[in-house]
């Protein structure tokens, strides 16, 4: 059976999810549902089941931190923001990504 494009690029998407999550968090303080909402219309749409373990891993690596805030509706929420280490890491990934795109564009010219 032929792989659908969706399955074919699974590995790429998986690898890039952390990058995109960091980018979203870099825009300001966000909570998990914000991140999911921004990913939803894209190819990277995912659920809490994937995002929470990822956020927890990034926090352990010192890339982000969170703060509890009360919300008008329901229980308090965790708001995430990047640490200096997380911002440095994001800049690095961003630079690498640009280099990668440049390579892809020029390789066959």
């Amino acid at each position: 059976m032929e792989n659908t494009p969706n399955q074919k690029f699974d590995a790429i998407r998986k690898g890039l999810l952390e990058f995109l999550t960091a980018k979203i968090i870099a825009t300001g303080e966000v909570y998990a549902a914000d991140i999911l909402a921004r990913l939803a219309p894209t190819d990277f749409a995912t659920g809490e089941g994937t995002l929470y373990p990822l956020l927890s891993k990034m926090r352990r690596e010192g890339l982000l931190e969170y703060e509890w805030r009360e919300s008008e509706s329901g229980p308090p929420r965790k708001y995430y923001r990047l640490t200096p280490k997380g911002r440095a890491n994001l800049r690095e990934t961003e630079a690498y990504w640009q280099a990668l795109i440049a390579t892809i564009k020029t390789i066959a010219k």
Binding site: Y52, R60, G74
Partner: protein, 291 residues
């Protein structure tokens, strides 16, 4: 007719149809299995539960806590499968949570020690009770102390996951019991060695992490406590004890006090003193009434 199960998710009560409850339990069990070994397992599980709770609430009318057919399944589909490390085949995810020893007050007569033990060793609870009473008689009441100790030492199963962990997903064999005990011991020894050899910076980071986790735990308790205040304890499946059971409670408490008094040297003067105080209190009250 559908059976309805009441559960507590992130400190809120929800009523689920049996099919929805089963789906939820499967989801949480496989999440736990997929994340096993993750140092933040408990925290992620709490976050996942809170997210499911939020999704369920969004599907209900305000002030209602009944999930209609398909609500749970839809919420779980939105959550998506839980990642973490790559699952080692479907069999791994299906093995469910490891069995843990919990007290099961709602299944038991007094504080659920016997029920918890029975669930853990997969034997009839009546046999455990008979064994307890027999041992209590043989030791002249001394074994009541063991019960009392177990009440203090064994944690109560309050969440649905804990209750399912108390019964275990599969029957546990003596072999796995021994293996678990050995694994626990080895882990303890490793941790101990690590403590002795860690550098100062690592130790500091470890301490900070422990502190963070403790804070997180406290927060969760606080939130749970507030939910209890708001909704009352009623949504934890709990039946009111009958008069006979209350009498058993009182009898056992009396037996425990008597056993402590008789068997633990040094407590006698203290309890005598306490009793004298109570007596004096009574006398004072009677004197006030008589006047």
């Amino acid at each position: 007719m559908n059976k309805v199960v009441t559960i507590s998710l992130a400190g809120r009560a929800y009523e689920l149809e049996e099919a929805g409850y089963d789906a939820l339990r499967r989801y949480l069990d496989s999440a736990r299995a997929a994340l096993s070994g993750d140092p933040d397992l408990e925290e992620i599980m709490r976050d996942l539960e809170a997210a499911i709770a939020e999704k369920l609430s969004a599907r209900m009318r305000p002030g209602e806590n009944v999930a209609r057919g398909g609500d749970v399944e839809a919420a779980l589909a939105e959550m998506g499968p839980v990642g973490g490390k790559a699952p080692e085949g479907a069999a791994h995810a299906q093995s469910g949570t490891p069995k843990k020893l919990y007290r099961l007050p709602e299944a038991g007569w007094i504080w659920g020690v016997c029920a918890g033990l029975a669930a853990y060793f997969d034997i009839d609870v009546t046999l455990v009770r008979i064994a307890f009473v027999a041992l209590a008689i043989l030791t002249g009441g001394g074994f009541f102390l063991a019960y009392f100790l177990m009440v203090i030492l064994i944690p109560v199963a309050t969440t649905p996951e804990e209750r399912s962990a108390a019964y275990g997903a599969s029957t546990i064999t003596a072999q796995t019991l021994i293996e678990n005990a050995r694994k626990g011991y080895e882990e303890g020894m490793r941790a101990w060695q690590k403590w002795e050899t860690v550098g100062k910076a690592e130790w500091k980071a470890h301490k900070a992490e422990m502190k963070r986790q403790a804070k997180q735990q406290r927060r969760a308790w606080k939130h749970q406590g507030r939910a209890w205040q708001e909704y009352g304890y009623s949504y934890y499946p709990h039946r009111t004890p009958t008069v006979a059971e209350e009498l058993v409670h009182v009898a056992i408490l009396a037996a425990v006090v008597w056993a402590v008094y008789t068997y633990i040297p040094g407590t006698q003067p203290f309890l005598d003193h306490l009793w004298a105080l109570i007596e004096r209190g009574w006398q004072w009250i009677f004197a006030q009434i008589a006047r």
